[in-house]
Symmetry: C2
């Protein structure tokens, strides 16, 4: 028999899925809590027993997406310890695969970022979430760099910020012109050059 | 006496200025043609004799911004011919200065890009505008590279796409966390490394 806890987690997951679809169609501001409930097949009561607000739901989406990405990178670590050269390939491959629908995810995350630029409370919550993700990625990069017997000439945190900035900017271009710029092409072309430029053997 | 043409161009400029303010406050979707007219002190008639739609007005803003940037870069060319090493400094300096209010410009251009991802007609117009800008920048990069006696190992167009992607992604991070990431820092740190990695002496 399904426990109450599992039922709750299932409700939450279905609300998140419904929200992704509704946000992608109507935008963050255009989608109401009612729209999300209708899509997921739940009442407003079910929504508010899981999320305090639409903002909180989007932040939970960010959390789920970044958790999944970090888990996938961590799963690669043992392999990377023996073949450090594949780090960038592995990470770049993950970036492509992580969001099953890059377009939907780009719309939602960009819209919420714009919302945060006008709403200090949303900005605080988003920045906290992004900082946690960056910190986790930074620790992974430091760990991999050390395992590979390398030292970086820039803080690992700056390299992580570069990867995120380039990926987000390139994704926008690829979504606008998929034929002119295949997804991941700028990252695959330029990130290895940067990594080469900033790494030196430790000893 | 002011000619009709000059009066028209003045009306257009004031509508554009008003629109920048209203879009930044209320967003592209939240701002109506009425809001823009009220802010600029004109009637709807004046608006529609200058722009067919809100979309057309935003595209005119893109055009004005990119024209200004290209003019500034072209003005630097004579200096660059004698001191090619300063190319990147000059371009990066311009990126900082170009949009007098980076925040407003980021909000408007990002919102219109999201709109274009949902509206094929807006996408066509935006892509055409962005392609013209990229082409102009690409020609400038090719010209500067040649003047400097260098050859690029990647197409100049790809390097231009990288600069735009990194700048747009980094701007989003700097606007969210200005103290953690000063504007332009990622570009100044990493673009010189990439330029170094892709350029070789021609002969």
């Amino acid at each position: 028999m399904e426990t109450s806890k599992r039922r709750r987690s299932n409700t939450r997951a279905r609300l998140l899925e419904g929200a992704v679809e509704v946000f992608a169609e109507r935008g963050f501001h255009g989608a109401s809590v009612e729209d999300i409930c209708e899509r997921a097949g739940f009442t407003r009561g079910a929504f508010y027993s899981n999320f305090a607000s639409k903002d909180e739901l989007v932040l939970a989406l960010f959390q789920a997406t970044t958790d999944r990405l970090l888990e996938q990178i961590e799963a690669l670590l043992p392999e990377l310890a023996t073949q450090p050269g594949t780090l960038l390939d592995a990470v770049l491959g993950l970036l492509d695969e992580t969001a099953p629908d890059e377009r939907q995810w780009h719309l939602i995350s960009t819209e919420f970022t714009l919302h945060a630029l006008r709403d200090p409370e949303a900005a605080r919550a988003l920045n906290q979430q992004r900082a946690m993700f960056r910190d986790s990625l930074t620790k992974l990069v430091e760990q991999i760099v050390e395992t590979s017997g390398l030292t970086l000439s820039v803080p690992a945190e700056r390299f992580v910020r570069l990867v995120i900035a380039l990926h987000e900017g390139a994704r926008s271009q690829s979504l606008l012109e998929p034929r002119e710029l295949p997804p991941g092409e700028l990252e695959r072309t330029f990130l290895p050059m940067v990594l080469e430029a900033v790494s030196r053997p430790s000893r």
